[in-house]
């Protein structure tokens, strides 16, 4: 059975060019870039090149790029650094829809004497900047808001938010794990202090991330050890993955337009056709202000995990914000923050595309989804009741 992979916000396939460029650094060029000999030193040169490639995608300086092990490490490093370098301040501002890498960290910090403000979003997942303005106090160390939401794709005005934070003398971090490579980012045009990236969301391997730290920003390392990354992150460099991520960033820059034309068109076709063919369905998240590859659709009266498993039978991969998929009893915190009714949230499916998806794949999903939803609605005690109620009108 062919796999139709529409779960690219969870992870992506490593691009062939990325894998090719990495292989020699496992097999032959395994030297440690910190070594004095040429055998290791030549790898150091490649890392320098990768750093330039990452910087180029972000419009950053190479020295502002710190390689980490993943997006979560980058997020943790950013927040903890802010709390250490501004040790007199005990307040953090985030939003209710942040990734667990930020939310769970902050709820942990709240047990250690820090105060957390979670900004709310409206029913379309949009942030009210006025609330941000009001939330900051002289005690605020850092504001951290994600650039693009992983579940809905909704984009936050982080550049504007960073300006507001700076006006109050507050540091600003953004989790750009989903946004990077999908929408243009140019750090020359904003004053964001720190930004997190994860390699495996943009066709690099898992286990590699980046924390951008603007030049001049005081920084305290999370991993303390050797002098690697200019003493901002101890630990021997993950050389193959760093070199792979450099290549992936180069590819992302090249594919940026395709993301916003080809991928966006496929996404729009998928969501339009599904909404047309399946009654009682709706999109979660602001339609006009989203990452080009993501759509989050709720199918009322059915449950997300059951939908996913029936899709799985056909080789279609996606995600759900339903309670049952997470093991918790409540649906996704993002959908709840948006006030999506429980009846809709339980039946939410996230499709996230990439440049690797084809028109045929999207057509296949469009053709198969209505039967899946019908089958589950046929089993649902609410579906008939609802139809009967409608026919009585």
């Amino acid at each position: 059975m062919k796999t139709i992979y529409l779960d690219n916000n969870a992870t992506t396939q490593v691009a062939e060019e990325v894998l090719d460029i990495m292989m020699p650094y496992f097999r032959d060029l395994y030297g440690n870039p910190s070594s004095m000999h040429t055998f290791g030193g030549q790898v150091g040169q490649k890392i320098r090149q990768a750093r330039e490639q990452v910087a180029s995608l972000l419009g950053a300086l190479p020295e502002e790029i710190v390689f980490t092990s993943c997006g979560t490490e980058s997020d943790n490093s950013a927040i903890r650094s802010a709390l250490i370098t501004r040790s007199d301040k005990k307040h953090i501002v985030i939003s209710r829809v942040e990734h667990p890498a930020i939310r769970t960290l902050c709820s942990h910090l709240s047990t250690q004497g820090y105060k957390i403000t979670e900004l709310s979003v409206d029913k379309n997942g949009i942030l009210d900047l006025e609330n941000l303005e009001k939330s900051m106090t002289p005690d605020t160390a850092i504001v951290s808001l994600m650039w693009g939401n992983n579940e809905t794709g909704v984009i936050f005005p982080v550049e504007e938010a960073a300006r507001m934070a700076h006006e109050k003398g507050v540091l600003f971090h953004t989790d750009a794990v989903q946004a990077t490579g999908k929408i243009p980012i140019n750090m020359k045009n904003n004053i964001i202090d720190m930004l997190s990236i994860s390699g495996h969301k943009l066709h690099a391997p898992k286990g590699i991330g980046v924390l951008y730290v603007r030049r001049g920003t005081k920084f305290s390392p999370f991993l303390i050890g050797g002098h690697q990354e200019k003493e901002r992150r101890g630990g021997t460099e993950n050389t193959p993955s760093i070199i792979g991520l450099g290549k992936a960033c180069e590819l992302a820059a090249r594919n940026m337009e395709k993301e916003n034309t080809y991928v966006k068109r496929l996404r729009d076709k998928l969501e339009c056709e599904l909404l047309k063919r399946i009654t009682q369905s709706r999109i979660n998240g602001d339609i006009g202000n989203r990452l080009p590859n993501t759509t989050n659709i709720s199918f009322e009266y059915v449950e997300g995990e059951a939908i996913l498993l029936l899709m799985n039978e056909l080789g279609i991969c996606a995600s759900s914000g339903s309670a049952c998929t997470s093991g918790s009893l409540q649906p996704s915190h993002v959908l709840r923050a948006m006030g999506v009714p429980f009846t809709m949230a339980h039946g939410s499916i996230r499709f996230s595309l990439s440049v690797n998806n084809t028109e045929e794949e999207v057509d296949f999903v469009i053709e198969k989804m209505p039967a899946i939803i019908d089958r589950l609605r046929g089993m649902s005690p609410f579906w008939n009741a609802k139809e009967q109620a409608c026919s009585k009108h």
Binding site: Y301, V302, E303, G304, E305, A306, L309, L310, E313, S322, A323, C324, T325, G327, S328, L329, Q330, P331, F342, T343, H346, G378, M379, S380, P381, F382, N384
Partner: protein, 274 residues
Amino acid sequence: MWEYTDKVKEHFLNPHNVGEIENPDGIAEVGSLACGDALKLAFKLDENKRIKDAKFKTFGCASAIASSSALTEIIKGMTVDEALKVSNQDIAQYLGGLPDEKMHCSVMGKQALEKAVENYRGAPALEEGAKIICECFGVTDKEIERAIRENNLSTVEDVTNYTKAGGGCGGCHDAIAQIIDHVKAEPKMDSKPKLTNIQKIRLIEETIEREIRPSLKQDGGDIEIIDIIGNRVIVATRGACATCKASDITLKNFVEYRLKELVSPDITVEEAAK
């Protein structure tokens, strides 16, 4: 991804007895859309008062649908009294087991069955004296107590996995903890069936393995069964326990106490001669 058994997958992909029954003898609905799962169950009896047909409609995840399918298969051919003896454990067992976090799906089956029988008998819908503990998911104290007893639950998290109670706002966690304490404090001897010798020996071994050894090991000690003669359990202490002056007290106040509580009140524990 959940580790579902093949049996769960089979009953999810091809559920048995989906649908409704015209003029059912008993019918009930439990759960709600907001909860994330709901089950509507109906049955019809034959002339011998046995369940001739059972049908369901379920909103929920794969394990909820599979549990409903399993339940309807299990109760067909049973009398109403026999059906009432089907526990959530039986449903889970029929499916080759369910992940812990999904046990509440089997509990939902059990609840639907009880309500459908109440509907058949014309009994009151809410158990007498029951009061809602978890407002988010509408779970009563009686339901929580029963889940604790039948599944030997000991933490609030367990109770949430089995009944959903406490899975919403969390405001009832203290109340659930109190119910756990209260149920655990109940004397259990009366309900215990008489054991054969073999069963008793096995139960003693299991109890030591599960309830006693882990605590002793935490303190660097251990225990070994040397012999079981009638109700006398002869043990040897090992590790830190062997040299501990308080080990007599541990044997009487902990080991013997637990065995009396969980196996039989007649048990005594003695230490083997060193």
